[in-house]
């Protein structure tokens, strides 16, 4: 079983720190969610792991061996970027063939089948596809790459609901068939929540959560009720986010549920609600 270790990864763009000492590890045979708000550094992390940009500090290794300038290890990682990095004049079938030169385990037939499922004509040029189709073509390339670690950055960008459902099925199918790790960066958290086993949450370049999704959700709760009661209840609690609408208040609280007075309702937040709470700060609406 392979493992990617990321150690104190730091990347700066001029004065802006995109990633600030991020350390995490990724194992084969897991589906990870890479979550965070816009500009939190998710895509930067994916590009760094794929060797497309260079870190200012830190190291990325696979089984202890550094990935930088190492073709053999770079081919264990496939990074689907949300940007269009391939020449737009290329036909979809040619991108598949090109990939097979570099990723020797590329399943070309499977890639063509996926294109068929997603309604993409492989003879079309990338420039002739819509945004959603281009995304699906890139996902088809990624899923057929045969890499050990597959990073999907915004795999649902511009994709309609029908194809998104199909896409999730295909990711699960592929995951079942291979030992690969899938790392999915998305903003459609509730839709993808069922896929994720483990979550990385980034905020302003820092890793603020690195936990199993169930544990993450179990370790937080929503509390709702009259604003006065909720505010009183929150006094000695770690409130992630509080929203007041009129006389009603709802808050997301970190920790175990305890000492809930009558009149307040408790529930567990969805992953998306939790993420919003974790990355949105405390608001007094």
């Amino acid at each position: 079983m392979s493992r990617i270790e990321i150690k104190t990864l730091t990347k700066k763009y001029k004065k802006k720190t995109a990633l600030d000492g991020v350390s995490l590890s990724i194992d084969n045979g897991m589906i990870y969610g890479l979550l965070g708000r816009n500009g939190s550094g998710k895509s930067t992390l994916v590009d760094l792991v794929g060797g497309r940009i260079f870190p200012d500090l830190g190291e990325i290794t696979i089984d202890g061996e550094t990935v930088t300038e190492n073709d053999k290890l770079l081919r264990k990682i496939y990074c689907m970027s949300s940007d269009d990095l391939l020449p737009m004049h290329m036909r979809v079938k040619d991108t598949i063939k090109a990939q097979a030169y570099f990723y020797k385990n590329t399943d070309e037939d499977y890639a063509i089948r996926l294109c068929d499922v997603f309604g993409i004509d492989p003879k079309k040029r990338l420039s002739q596809l819509s945004t959603g189709q281009r995304t699906l073509a890139k996902v088809s390339l990624a899923l057929s790459s045969g890499a050990d670690f597959i990073f999907l950055d915004e795999p649902t960008l511009g994709v309609d609901a029908n194809f998104r459902e199909e896409l999730y099925k295909k990711i699960i199918e592929r995951f079942d068939k291979t030992e690969a790790a899938f790392i999915i960066s998305t903003h459609l958290i509730d839709e993808c929540a069922g896929l994720f086993e483990h979550c990385f949450v980034l905020e302003e370049g820092r890793l603020i959560a690195d936990e199993d999704c169930e544990e993450l959700q179990a370790n937080a709760y929503l509390i709702e009720g009259r604003a006065k009661d909720v505010t009183e209840y929150l006094k000695d609690k770690q409130c992630l986010k509080k929203t007041i609408i009129g006389t009603l208040c709802s808050a997301c609280v970190k920790g175990e549920v305890k000492d809930v007075p009558d009149g307040l309702e408790v529930s567990h937040p969805s992953l998306q609600q939790l993420l919003i709470a974790m990355t949105g700060g405390v608001q007094d609406g």
Binding site: T44, G51, E69, P87
Partner: protein, 286 residues
Amino acid sequence: MGEFLSYSFRGKEGLRRYLKYFGLSLGVLFLFHIILLIAGIISVNFRSDWKNIYESAGAAAAGIIFGMVLYDLIKISLHNGTSRVSILVGSGAAALTFGALSSVMIETVYLITDGIFRLAGMRLDCIIMCDDRHTWAGGEQLSMQGMNDLLAHDPRFIFFSISEIFLLVMLGYTAVMVFLAVKQRTNLFGASVASAVTAYCYFNVFIEYGGSVTLRGELMSGLREKMIYIGEILHPNPMAPDQYGSCLGAVIAFLTTALMVFMIGYLVYAVFILRVPAAERKRGVR
């Protein structure tokens, strides 16, 4: 690096695309000549150096097309998990191979055109290296012979000519590699300076070279000086009768110069390409 080279030579966006566009541009030049011939614009007395036009326009086209192909090769390779070192070494090897192939193609088109011109009772000019410091009587003599018949098809001349074209093609390649490497860094100022320098170099090479070559011929002054210097060491006299050894000397001199020029550009390319980001944006974090 194996994968990069494999795709460069066998992949659709590599050599195949290069040959398609380069062949097309040579075809256009060829047709242009033939049309001029049919239209009667070129006559026996027309002493233009058509080979030189093939060399100049052909080498410029080769450079630009190589730039286009290499640009896409870099993008495809970086997308598919290839290290910068592999791209660097691979593109150097590809440049030399593509360049050699292009030189042979240019010479072939020249010979075909020359053959057709001969059928029409004309001939293409060719270059004889003669200057003040090297008065090559043999060259002079062959120049006169060349007025009437065989010079273009002389194996020595072909051998000599291909190496000379190779030098020009490598000049073109070097310029675009420097430009590309700077452009890949999304450095607009650098790219502008590189393109200005590139344009200036092209101007010097092709305008001076094109303007000064006659049947008695001489290369552009700077290049000529270099050739004389190298020539003094190697004693090249490619057109001297029965002096195949001397012709080899001239070929070596050309190839040496081509490699020297290429290596200088390649070093600049290496410095930039080793840190080329494939996905970095000038502004904003994603």
